[in-house]
């Protein structure tokens, strides 16, 4: 505190360094790769804004929804469910031993939603009309209306859940205390809102009984999406926790690896339960609608792969990991589960959609579509790191320590 002229900017954003120092410190290989991805991503965004969806994507009148909806929205929102699952468990069901996860979990949900909506703006042809949805043009008969409104509400809820951390960082005690009291109410609303829209994302595909392959189409699509979002969200907590606790170990002074692994195994137990429930429902759906004869051919094979490799196998991995207390197996299972959620969403949105069309005429994403999605994911990771570096997410702010 020798210098009086230390501005707010250099203190809070540059973390006490000058601008030149800040740039120099950030010239790492990882950041260079991120920069390259970002350049391509931003190019794709600008290209989309200038020339429109036709040139920037491979979408057509036959395939109105492509990679951006499939990956950015369906996958992105499902994997942004940590707040729904772990956040609820901590605040509502009083699992206080997991309270270390509360802040990182709130952050990942918040960023997940913000960036999913950001990516969505590029897919919407008339993005500037989005306010219509909130203000006055209400399509009550639409599942997408429900999704849109719930995204809006849930983003606000995530903001409230994360606000105390921001105000701790800014050292505004009154605002921090105000939002800290709101958290429990935000969480209650959050369960209802998040449960509603996670299932509604599956509900979006209820209107295409003739276009979605019968193995994937089901009246149970909403619960399928909800439950898979739950285990997808838990997997992300495991993966994210593992990475951040390695990369930001210097921030956590009293890090107890054994205790951390114990918690991961606890999360693995919850994920295994959700996976088994999902599997049983899937089998029930399969048997009830008598889908046996669809099992031959590519789609049958692919359905079996999805169910066995990405649901049954990770479920068994979690089970074994929990019974034998093996932390690395939980992490491996989490990676496989999260990947399985990605596969499932892309199956519903792209592969099994219009399954009667031969593969040569199907939709394949253009490079710009993938570049934009990769750019958005990179932005998310960079923002996550930016926040972790500055705000008291992984550790307790010394001033507010006693109040947790």
């Amino acid at each position: 505190m020798g210098r009086n002229n230390t501005s707010w900017f250099s203190e809070k954003i540059l973390m006490g360094r000058t601008f030149g120092e800040f740039i120099r410190d950030n010239l790492t290989i990882g950041n260079m790769i991120a920069l390259i991805i970002l350049i391509f991503g931003i190019y794709a965004m600008v290209y989309r804004l200038i020339y429109g969806l036709g040139p920037a994507t491979n979408l057509s009148d036959e395939y109105p929804w492509g990679f951006w909806i499939g990956f950015d929205i369906l996958v992105g929102i499902a994997l942004a469910a940590p707040g729904l699952t772990v956040g609820t468990a901590i605040h509502l069901f009083g699992l206080k031993e997991y309270h270390h996860f509360a802040k990182p979990v709130a952050l990942s949900s918040l960023l997940g939603y913000v960036f999913a909506i950001f990516a969505l703006l590029f897919d919407l042809g008339r993005y500037y009309n989005l306010y219509n949805l909130i203000i006055w043009s209400w399509g009550f008969s639409s599942v997408l209306f429900l999704v849109g409104w719930h995204f809006f509400l849930y983003t606000i809820i995530c903001l409230i859940e994360f606000a105390p951390v921001v105000f701790e960082w800014l050292d505004l005690k009154r605002a921090r205390d105000f939002f800290a009291k709101l958290i429990i109410w935000a969480t209650i609303f959050g369960v209802i809102i998040a449960g509603g829209h996670q299932s509604a994302l599956g509900g979006l595909y209820l209107v295409v009984p003739y276009k979605l392959h019968p193995l994937w189409y089901s009246a149970l699509l909403p619960p399928f999406f909800l439950i898979s979002a739950i285990f997808g969200g838990i997997s992300i907590v495991i993966i994210e926790g593992t990475i951040t606790h390695k990369a930001f170990r210097h921030q956590i002074k009293d890090f107890d690896e054994e205790d951390f692994n114990k918690k991961l195994i606890g999360l693995g137990k919850a994920a295994a339960c959700a996976l088994y429930i999902y599997l049983i429902l899937k089998l029930l759906d399969f048997a009830h609608y008598e889908k046996w004869h669809y099992l031959k051919g590519f789609y049958g094979f692919w359905y079996a792969v999805e169910l066995i490799a990405f649901v049954l196998v990770p479920a068994l991995m979690f089970t074994s990991a929990v019974r034998n207390r093996i932390a690395w197996l939980v992490k491996l299972g989490a990676v496989l589960t999260a990947f399985g959620v990605i596969v499932n969403r892309l199956n519903v949105c792209l592969i099994a959609y219009k399954w009667y069309v031969p593969f040569s005429q199907k939709y394949y994403p253009a490079w710009t579509e993938i570049a934009l999605s990769a750019g958005v994911v990179t932005l998310l990771v960079l923002t996550y790191r930016f926040v972790l570096n500055r705000m008291p997410v992984l550790y307790e702010h010394p001033k507010y320590k006693s109040e947790h």
């Binding site: 057509s60 042809g125 219509n132 008969s141 509604a200 209107v207």
Partner: protein, 339 residues
């Protein structure tokens, strides 16, 4: 050195040029054989129709006693494509001389070689199918104007309306361009102006709402001289379809497509061959909106009725059990102390 730098900059400029100013050439796509109507933008027909609808609503003009419908008799269509021409003409879509349309039925190769669908710049297409005996059948496709439109129920900003006259119409001013209506449509009809970066819109057949309200018939019906298209009140059109099937035994399959499909449509078809053979999807009678209605009802039930007591109950339970645990722990602690 100076020269080098200049060349370098030039090269850089060229690179930037290829990267940034590569406006996709539409002619390239033409040569790939894509329909040029994919690239059309700035359609005015849908907007015009919506304005008329709004004006009529403001004036409280009485709706007709009954919605209208069109019957397509596939056995009578000769593939002259005059309906396509008239549709483009009336709706101000990109058009070609009428003769070019009429000629394609005899041409080889012709546009009929490929199964087409409506795009941003054309609301109707005629496709050719061959029966098992090698006889060509011409099938007109356009919006079916469902009685319970899937596009309407899918739209999150209510950009669609089912008018009392029968047509399903679209309002671009509230549209977000999300294209969920295209996903939901069981007939794959709504098209999108993919090549408009700023104000893209959905385009589709309006059933010539602007003509119907003036007492005229749709442009395609008016120009059809083969007698393949008949316009009238829906109940009468259904009756006419069954009469034709009954009066000409063996000429038609005994089925009126669109009478019951997804709850009924305003365009009805009769055909000499089963409809699966001429590109019609096999659909159940359940209207598409019902699939999502049930779910929306469940969500409302969950959110309004079920979730509240569930969550508060859970919260109450937790606080109570926590207190119990605390008191048990305290008791235990005391017990230990006594020992």
């Amino acid at each position: 050195m100076k020269l080098n730098r200049r060349e370098f900059l030039k090269g850089l400029g060229a690179l930037a040029g290829t990267l940034i100013i590569t406006k996709p050439s539409i002619s390239q796509a033409y040569s790939k054989g894509d329909a040029p109507s994919i690239y059309a933008t700035g359609n005015k027909a849908n907007e015009k129709v919506w304005k008329i609808y709004e004006e009529r609503k403001k004036k409280h003009l009485p709706p007709p006693e009954e919605p209208y419908a069109v019957l397509v008799d596939i056995s009578k269509c000769i593939g002259c494509r005059r309906c396509e021409w008239a549709c483009n003409e009336w709706n101000k879509n990109p058009n070609r001389p009428l003769k070019e349309f009429e000629a394609s039925v005899h041409q080889k190769p012709s546009v009929f070689d490929k199964i087409r669908r409506p795009h941003a710049g054309n609301f109707t297409v005629v496709n050719r199918f061959y029966t098992k005996d090698g006889i060509p059948l011409y099938v007109k496709r356009q919006c079916m104007h469902c009685v319970h439109p899937a596009c309407y129920s899918a739209c999150l900003v209510e950009a669609y309306r089912k008018t009392p006259e029968g047509p399903v119409i679209y309002n671009k001013s509230v549209c977000l361009g999300c294209r969920y209506c295209m996903l939901a449509c069981p007939f794959d009809i709504p098209a999108y102006e993919y090549y408009d970066p700023i104000t893209p819109q959905i385009t589709k057949c309006t059933m010539c709402y602007d003509r119907i309200v003036e007492g005229k018939v749709p442009a395609c019906v008016e120009i059809c001289t083969a007698g393949a298209l008949t316009f009238g009140k829906r109940s009468e059109i259904v009756k006419l379809a069954w009469e034709r099937i009954g009066n000409n035994p063996g000429k038609y399959v005994p089925y009126v497509y669109g009478e019951k499909e997804v709850g009924g449509t305003s365009w009805l078809y009769i055909s000499p061959v089963p409809f699966e053979e001429i590109g019609f999807p096999k659909l159940e009678e359940t209207p598409i909106p019902e699939y999502s209605e049930r779910f929306l009802f469940m969500v409302k039930l969950f959110e309004v009725v079920g979730a509240w007591p569930l969550v508060f109950g859970a919260y109450y339970q937790i606080t109570r059990s926590r207190k119990k645990k605390q008191s048990i722990n305290e008791e235990k602690g005391e017990g230990h102390g006594k020992k």
